[in-house]
Structures are given as C-alpha cells and as structure tokens.
C-alpha cells in the first residue's frame, strides 16, 4: 500500500481541491498515515500562536491620521516606499555594470582599480545577478499588466513609464551580455524588449482594448513564463558561481 507523502498530507490539511481523491479513505484505513497527518496538524497548529506585535486601540485612528493628507493629493502621494525610486537606482547600477564589463575587455588605465581588478568569475556572477534582477522587475510588470485588475487606463500611465525604464535597462544588459558572448540570453532579451517598447509606446489615453491586446501578447507568447524560467536559471547559475 502506498502511503501519503508529506505534500499530499499538506494538501489534505488545507483542504485543497488538488488533494488526492483517495486520501480520506486511505487515512481511515492506515494508522501510519493517520499518525503522520496528526503530527502535521499538531505542528502547524503550533504556528497559529504566532502573531504580529499587538497594536493599541489607537492604531486605526493613527493610521487614518497618517493617511488622510495623502488621500487629498491623489494616489501618487504614498508612504515612504515608492517603486519609482528603485527603478532609478537600478538604472544607475546597470550603467556601473556596463563599466565593469568594459573594464574586463578594454584594460583602460583610467578605470577604477576596484573594477579592473575583479576576476572573470566575479564579473560573471555580477552579470548573472543583474540580469536576473532585471528580469524580476520585468516579471513584476508583466504580472501586473496581465493579472492586476487595477490596470485600468488611468493607472496604466505608471506602467508605461516603467516599461520605458526597463527597456533602457534592457539595452544596457544586452550590451554587457554581448561583451560576454552570451548570445542566447541576448536574443531572449530582444523578445522582452520588443514587448516593453510596445508597452511604453501605448497612446496617452490607452483604452481597455489596447490593454487587452498587451495582455494577449503576454499570454500568447508565454512571455511571462519564459521570463520566469530564464530568471530561475540565472539564479541557479549565480549560486553555482
């Protein structure tokens, strides 16, 4: 008799529809799996005790007091965190990255010794990380365009800007990869770029129809899926290096 795996027991515990159909009847017959299910439930139950730090009675009011001024000035004014800042910072990093690669190829004396002194392996690793991070940002954007139902015309303007930033960042990535002779990844980034440029060039008053078309392009070419795979491969490579 084949016992239930831990993964199957987890699906049963959470009453997921993917739990194997025979699980319940097996559990009623098999003491061993019942015991395993029992200890899983007990251990997961233990984590129910874990909670966030308690907030006082005033927390809701304080949250409102902080929020209220931002509501007046529209959605652009938020708390400390803003994605835009990160895009800008990353573009800076990408430029540095190209410098790192140029340093490897053309040993110009003017380059900072720190960069010139990096080993090939260190450079390779930096490149893998940078491209994976770039793809991570592309993935976030694609996901938002394809899933997030807040991507109505009025919200789309911000996505368009990000697409433009990412397209520029992609250019730098490609230059670095080309210097490194990574033609396969460069070709893939070309596909990504074509989409980003298209997204960046949607009209100002983009309609539901244009957004639907972009979504379709993401789905039909399984672009999002490919981005994830390539990113995951790069992460693995990066860990190996």
């Amino acid at each position: 008799m084949k016992h239930l795996s831990e993964e199957e027991l987890i699906l049963v515990y959470y009453e997921e529809p993917d739990a194997p159909a025979m699980a319940q009847s097996h559990l009623s017959e098999c003491a061993e799996c019942r015991a395993a299910a029992g200890s899983l439930a007990r251990e997961l139950g233990f984590f129910d005790e874990w909670n966030a730090p308690a907030k006082g009675e005033d927390f809701g009011r304080d949250a409102w007091n902080r929020l209220a001024p931002a509501l007046d000035s529209g959605r652009e004014v938020g708390p400390g965190w803003r994605p835009v800042r990160i895009w800008a910072a990353m573009a800076g990093f990408a430029i540095l990255l190209v410098a790192v690669f140029l340093a490897g190829r053309l040993s110009r004396p003017a380059l900072p010794p720190v960069i010139a002194g990096l080993s090939d392996q260190a450079r390779e690793r930096i490149l893998a990380i940078a491209v994976a991070d770039h793809l991570d940002r592309v993935e976030t954007l694609l996901t938002e365009i394809s899933h997030d139902d807040s991507n109505a015309p009025d919200v789309f303007a911000a996505d368009r800007e990000r697409a433009e930033d990412l397209a520029q960042e992609g250019q730098l990535m490609k230059q670095s990869l080309a210097l490194h002779g990574e033609t396969a990844t460069t070709g893939f980034l070309d596909d990504v770029d074509r989409f980003l440029i298209e997204a960046a060039h949607t009209p100002d008053r983009v309609g539901e129809k244009e957004i639907a078309e972009l979504r379709q392009r993401i789905d039909s070419g399984s672009l999002l899926f490919k981005v994830r795979i390539v990113e995951s491969n790069l992460r693995n490579e990066e860990r190996k290096l």
Binding site: I10, P17, R42, F46, A52, P53, D136, S232
Partner: protein
C-alpha cells in the same frame, strides 16, 4: 464591537461615492487586521505600517471598482498581499519561487536549535510566538508570503499564486517548502510536544 459586515456594507457604499468619513470608519475598523497580515509577510513593524498605508491608499483609489463579491475585509487583504509582495520584490532579497527541480538544497536551519528556548510547553503564547518567529524569519520571503496567505489568511493555493504572480504549481511548491522548513525548525523541541 460593531457588527462587522453589515456595518461595512453601509460605509462601503458611501465610501464608493467619495465619502471620506465613511472611508475613515473602514480604515479604523480594518487597520489592525491589515497590519497583522503585512507584518507576517514583512516581519518588520515599520514596513508593515507602510503597507497599511499603501493598502488603504490603493483601496481608496479603487473604491468604485469594489464589486462586493468578496467581503470588504477580504478585498482589502488581497490588496495588502499584492502590495506587500510588490514591496518585497522591489528589495534585493526576494528570490522568487524556486523551480521544483532546484528544491533539493535549501538552507538547513543551523541556528534555530540554539535560538529555540528549552521545551517547556507551558509557555505562554507570547513566548511561543517569540520562539516561532526565528523559524518564520528563516523562510525565504516568497515562502513566508505564500505560507502566510495560505495558513493565516486561508487563501486557496490558486489565489496565493495569483497574488504572487506565479503558476499554481510554484505557489504550491513554496508552501510545501515553507511547511517542511517550519516543521524542521520545530524538531529541536518537537520530541517534547504533546
């Protein structure tokens, strides 16, 4: 406390029409629960407070799209989960869900056994929480996000996947890994569990 959902329905209707006082009622009522979710995902009070702001800001701008199919609280939590995932992604530590084949070598919990207090299980829940937190902190961000949404928020795996922007298989996998890691983290004390 007021009658949660009935009270929400009236306030939601008014807030949809731009009534700030009504929205204020909703913020005050739901802020703590949203904070709890954000904290579990970020493990950082300041970040979680920022996510509360992000969530309500987004909710306000999207109010007219709330269709009432889910409860207002559920809708808010979904926004919070999405915003927090975006926030975590924007930082360098986010690794994305590992592909099934690369699952073999995740970090063993080296420091955890020493971080866990002695197995006195009459510990009060605050103490238990303090003991559990290192275990949750040792998960990758995507694993913790997935586990939080499944275990604490009760989201189905397909919904977790949608919030993470990944395929259901990847979300399922993150949950499996989270559970496996958490169970392993309990091992030092596990033999003494009831």
């Amino acid at each position: 406390m007021n009658d949660g959902n009935y009270g929400d329905a009236a306030a939601v209707e008014r807030a949809r029409n731009g009534d700030r006082d009504a929205f204020r009622v909703l913020v005050e009522r739901h802020a703590s629960a949203v904070f709890r979710l954000a904290y579990r995902m970020t493990l950082n009070e300041t970040d979680a407070e920022d996510m509360v702001q992000e969530t309500f800001l987004r909710a306000w701008s999207e109010m007219r799209r709330f269709d009432g199919r889910a409860s207002f609280g559920t809708w808010l939590h979904r926004i919070c989960a999405n915003r927090t995932v975006d926030f975590l992604r924007s930082r360098k530590r986010w690794q994305g869900p590992a592909m099934p084949d690369t699952d073999r070598e995740y970090d063993p919990f080296r420091n955890l056994a020493s971080a866990a207090p002695s197995p006195e299980r009459e510990a009060q829940s605050a103490q238990t929480g303090a003991m559990l937190e290192p275990a949750l902190a040792a998960l990758s961000e995507v694993e913790r996000a997935a586990f939080t949404m499944r275990h604490y928020e009760g989201l189905a795996i397909d919904d977790v996947a949608a919030a993470l922007g990944v395929q259901p298989g990847a979300a399922r996998h993150s949950i499996f890994r989270a559970v496996r890691k958490l169970r392993r983290a309990l091992e030092p004390v596990g033999s003494g569990l009831p």
